[in-house]
Amino acid sequence: MMVGRSTKGISLNIVSKEDAGSIHVAALEILEKTGMDCTPKIAEVFRKAGADIENNGKRAKIPQHLVEEALRKAPKTILFGGRNPKNDVVLEDGRIYFGMGGTPTPYIRDLQTGEFRRPGKQDMVECTRLGDGLPNIKFLMTLAGAFDVPYEVEYLHEFEVLFNNTEKPILFSVPGGDASRRVLEMASTIVGGMDALRKRPIFGLYSETMSPLSFTEANENMMEFSKARVPIALGPMPMTGSTAPVTVAGCSLIGTSENLAAITLVQLVNPGAPVIYAGWGTHMDPVTTRCAYGAPEFTLGTDAVNAAMAHYYGLPCYGFGGCSDSKFPDAQAGAEVMMNAMVAALSGVNLIHDCGYLAGGSVGSMEMAVVANEIAGMVLRIARGVEVNDETLAVDTIHEVGPGGHFLSHKHTLKWVRDAFMPQLFDRTSEVTWAKAGRKQIYEVARERAKKILKEHTPEPLPKDVQQKISNIVKEAEKELVKT
């Protein structure tokens, strides 16, 4: 079967190669001179490789050559599989893929009432099925957390939902080593063993270091995934002016440094393990103190700088698009989503995540995910650019039709008319038609579309015995880990 190789989006070059070189050198200096705080387990990996460990075994000062070596070992092209191989995609060289949601949001915008409420496992089932049914969504994260299950096993329940309800590639978090081993066991059960999982991973790990410059116990998950050779997408979230310098460059430098440290860790544990670059610098609004997903600086840091660095290293990368600070799927949301989705795509970010996030990541909205899916379609069209050749210039056709004629029924027209982006959601009808049809705003149309997809689209379920085995892994963990 052919794997998906999408449109390449590189063309904007907001950050030049020379500037990327400066950021790289600065990051090397930061890791060598100041270093990263580590857990004892992670510090031990760096110590064995020759790093100086200081501050009572906490601080690893990582020599430049370790980082450079790791960058050479990290694979430049990564197969990111779905449960169904027809959804497999290749991450490389600026090919762009949009993903729904991110890590669990504390609120979901209720599809019936429009109210914000605390989501549960069933909400996550619905979000996942919706994402599986949206054509421009190529990988799945979430728009809702499973907050109605015991928190000790929340991530296992969430993986159970994802594995059961989508055939597309999955990217998700699971903190720490123990929970990681359990999730890897779930995935290996689905594909028929750890070896099969390594050859065609059906999901990836999303692991955030803690800014500034710290590994936490949660990051020990990287070690397990590295051993298993299942892709790891990094994701530091330093914020301008609080956990990083206030400038986009300085903030992204913190993200770059943490990323290089994480890549080094992953390659030291298992050389050649797949790792997806994400040297982010996010933006804290200095008035509200919230992380502003819709800010231009957020996009510059997490997409423009991030992608420039990933291309400098020749590594696949992971960034943001489709997310907004608005509380409602409105004009602000549309503008912010188009901005970050477009910049991400034209910078050549491979995995563009958070489609459907509102309120700066506090609210998941299925309507917004449907709108973002439409925007992704427009962005993909722009990224494809303008093809200029004899066929598209159609010189002979123009000679043939001549002055005063028309192209309506010409065979060149019929051949090429479907090349244009056709809206699947947005409305291009006349004001009269729109008024007659009930004056619907686009979020209302999106809501109806979401409901329709949930009603009509059913992903292929896992075989019954596999479902049972996965459920047993969750139940076993519950027995062992849940304090009463």
């Binding site: 609120y107 605390r118 903190p175 609080s242 103190t289 506090s362």
Partner: protein, 196 residues
């Protein structure tokens, strides 16, 4: 620090140094922040040295005179056990200092019992606990329980925050206040201690 040292050396009453000096300055900064003229960073930059001057120079002086420091209220702040994300807590702390509160920061990865112990020790009116991870959020519920167990629940107001925290959650665990941002947090705490 230098100005505070000089003021105290000149024999100015330490309470006056706070009220007429530090608090007055912070009030101006706070007002400008509210008006959008200054940003969070300016507020923190004003609050941090103020806190240092009060804790290191003025409070020892007040203690020497067997007096008590007047403040808008005593607030114990910490990041809950199992969590070391403390930037949110630090921001709230700085904003409370700027608003004239006496802030006792007990750090990160703090067990529920420590919150109780510190609140008792300093006679706090408000205790604030922050959590960033959905897996550490439940520790906030343990804090409420720990205060009940120590028969302290009616003596302190318990406020909670952090990315996964919500109004509903705080209601569910029996807390007194929630805010989705540091700015709102200060308002909530002011209301709880009866400052408008």
């Amino acid at each position: 620090m230098e100005v505070t040292r000089k003021a105290l050396a000149a024999g100015i009453d330490p309470s006056t140094v706070i009220e007429q000096g530090i608090a007055k300055g912070l009030k101006i900064v706070g007002k400008k922040f509210e008006d959008g003229e200054l940003f969070l960073m300016h507020l923190v930059a004003a609050a941090e040295p103020s806190q240092k001057a009060i804790k290191e120079l003025i409070e020892p002086e007040i203690k020497k005179r067997k007096g008590e420091r007047k403040s808008a209220g005593k607030v114990v702040l910490g990041t809950v056990a199992g969590d070391i994300h403390d930037i949110g807590k630090n921001i709230v702390g700085a904003m409370l200092i700027a608003a004239g509160f006496d802030v006792i920061d007990i750090g990160k990865d703090v067990p529920a019992e420590e919150f109780v112990k510190k609140a008792k020790e300093v006679n706090a009116q408000v205790v604030g606990a922050s959590a960033l991870l959905s897996t550490s959020l439940p520790v906030q519920a343990e804090i409420v329980k720990a205060f009940k167990k120590a028969n302290m629940r009616d003596k302190v107001k318990l406020v909670f925050g952090g990315a996964p925290c919500t109004t509903e959650w705080v209601k569910e665990i029996g807390g007194d206040g929630y805010a989705e941002s540091a700015v709102e947090g200060v308002n909530v705490i002011k209301q709880l201690v009866g400052i408008k």
